[in-house]
């Protein structure tokens, strides 16, 4: 379902993120560099090769900064690899922390539609899902209020529910997305489980080694952007612990 062929991805790191025009201009006229050119290329992913097959529950593990989330972004198409290619057969959807994509001035309902359309739903599909989303997130009385007046719990519930309304063939999960208060977490867990069950393939990035052992059918270990292990999840966890 997913083929990763010789994928490498380079970040250009700027120590000062916003380069001003002034510096560039001065650098043009001076032979001597006015500002220390602080660009360096950092390879976040190095020559990765693997495939994810239908029916697999695929885990990616690695230390912080190993490139796990970057890899997930490459698979979902948000980042394009610098070298190599990614082939995906089937609809793919990352389960994202959509709260960052909420427009605080828009009402909950407007955000359902805006985000729903971004996730690729049609108008008819969203109309059908709208009520379910509102019910599940327990926001009946607040749905037409701008999201900026929501408590953090409310916006997390709404974000979670919208994000989990997708029905992709391939599901991408980055850690466990937060789900609000205790009562809601229980509901949220079963919603996640049914989402995972419906998907033909799941790719998960996690630090929760127990979850990887129980959940995954295959796992890869990534270290400093390189693939160091591909195979049985239990062996993968052991390999990771010995890194």
């Amino acid at each position: 379902m997913i083929n990763i062929n010789n994928v490498s991805l380079a970040y250009t790191i700027h120590h000062e993120r916003s380069h001003s025009l002034k510096e560039k201009m001065i650098n043009l006229f001076h032979k001597r560099k006015y500002v220390e050119q602080s660009e360096e290329t950092f390879w976040a992913l190095k020559n990765l090769n693997f495939s994810v097959h239908e029916g697999e529950q695929f885990a990616i593990i690695g230390k912080n900064g190993a490139g796990k989330s970057t890899l997930l972004k490459v698979i979902s198409g948000i980042l394009k690899p610098t070298k190599g290619s990614v082939e995906v057969n089937g609809s793919i959807q990352p389960l994202i922390e959509i709260a960052a994509g909420f427009n605080p001035e828009f009402s909950g309902r407007e955000n359902i539609y805006l985000n729903g359309y971004m996730l690729g739903f049609s108008r008819e599909q969203l109309k059908a899902k709208e009520k379910e989303i509102i019910d599940f997130s327990e926001l009946e009385n607040f749905i037409d209020v701008p999201v900026k007046y929501y408590s953090s719990g409310m916006s997390v519930r709404l974000a979670f529910t919208i994000a989990t309304s997708v029905e992709p063939e391939i599901l991408l999960l980055d850690e466990m997305i937060s789900a609000g208060d205790a009562g809601f977490i229980k509901k949220a867990r079963s919603r996640m489980e049914s989402l995972v069950k419906r998907a033909k393939g799941v790719v998960i990035v996690s630090h929760d080694l127990q979850l990887v052992r129980e959940f995954a059918t295959r796992a890869v270990v990534i270290d400093k952007g390189e693939l160091v292990f591909d195979g049985d999840p239990n062996q993968a966890v052991d390999k990771y612990l010995n890194l």
Partner: protein, 266 residues
């Protein structure tokens, strides 16, 4: 050439796929803009009319050789110029302000530019529609067949500012100075464009200078049918079409070149 046509076609297909995102973004934004005001959308009609009335009063008092129907002259140029200026002024922010979306989900970058252009165009339609109607009611000019060209002039202006917004948006991701410089440039270009004054009122050598200003051609072509009731000179129209296509093509090329790079700098 062939591959560029393919690029445009592909871009349109992608945008068509995401048309509902644009729809909900634009409609929610328009609703939001007037949400807590009593007369809502009427502000977008009334606001500019009152604005031009004030400007008209001040400048017809100041100018010695006041022309007849100065209000019609003023608003037909100013409203159209303001459509272009609104898109251009927001151009630098087109990706920066959408960082949250760009980093979380794959969306075509041109979508954000289209959203901006569409929103300002709809606002313009409301305001210019009202103004045109008011002008007719107060006998400032007469309806003429030459008005049929107006939608096309607007269309070309949209292509022109779309291209500029793409270029500005990409540039501003790399050089955040742009958003400080641009309002000054636009302020200067407003006065350098014959909106408050007629080009004939300028000394001869300045008249030549004005012709270096791209906005001059757009404003003249839009104003001519309304204020004079006649089609703009073909040469002006040609320049408008040329500038629009040039800007659109360059803008799209810049956007495509930096499409996958922008995200690393946001």
């Amino acid at each position: 050439m062939y591959s560029f046509a393919q690029t445009v076609k592909k871009e349109f297909l992608v945008l068509y796929k995401f048309r509902w995102v644009t729809y909900s973004f634009v409609s929610s934004n328009l609703k939001m803009r007037y949400k807590r005001s009593v007369i809502g959308i009427f502000w977008s009609m009334l606001g500019p009319a009152l604005n031009y009335l004030i400007m008209g009063l001040v400048f017809s008092l100041l100018a010695k050789n006041s022309m007849p129907n100065y209000f019609a002259y003023l608003f037909s140029g100013a409203a159209f110029y303001n459509l272009m200026a609104a898109v251009i002024n927001n151009g630098p922010y087109v990706f920066i302000h959408n960082e949250g979306y760009i980093k979380k989900i794959y969306l075509p970058k041109s979508l954000f530019v289209v959203n901006l252009v569409l929103m300002e165009t709809i606002n313009f339609m409301f305001s210019v529609g009202t103004l045109l109607l008011l002008g007719l009611i107060f006998n400032q000019y007469e309806l003429s067949l030459s008005w049929l060209i107006l939608p096309f002039v607007v269309l070309f202006a949209i292509l022109f500012v779309f291209g500029l917004a793409c270029i500005l948006g990409v540039t501003c991701v790399y050089f955040r100075d742009i958003n400080h410089i641009l309002p000054l440039v636009m302020q200067a270009s407003f006065f350098a464009t014959p909106i408050l004054y007629a080009v004939e009122a300028l000394p001869e050598n300045y008249q030549k200078l004005v012709r270096l200003n791209p906005f001059y051609y757009f404003v003249e072509t839009f104003r001519s049918p309304i204020f004079l009731g006649q089609l703009p000179p073909l040469s002006d129209l040609g320049i408008v079409i040329g500038l629009s296509l040039l800007s659109f093509v360059i803008g799209l090329i810049v956007l495509k070149l930096f499409d996958n790079k922008i995200i690393f700098k946001l």
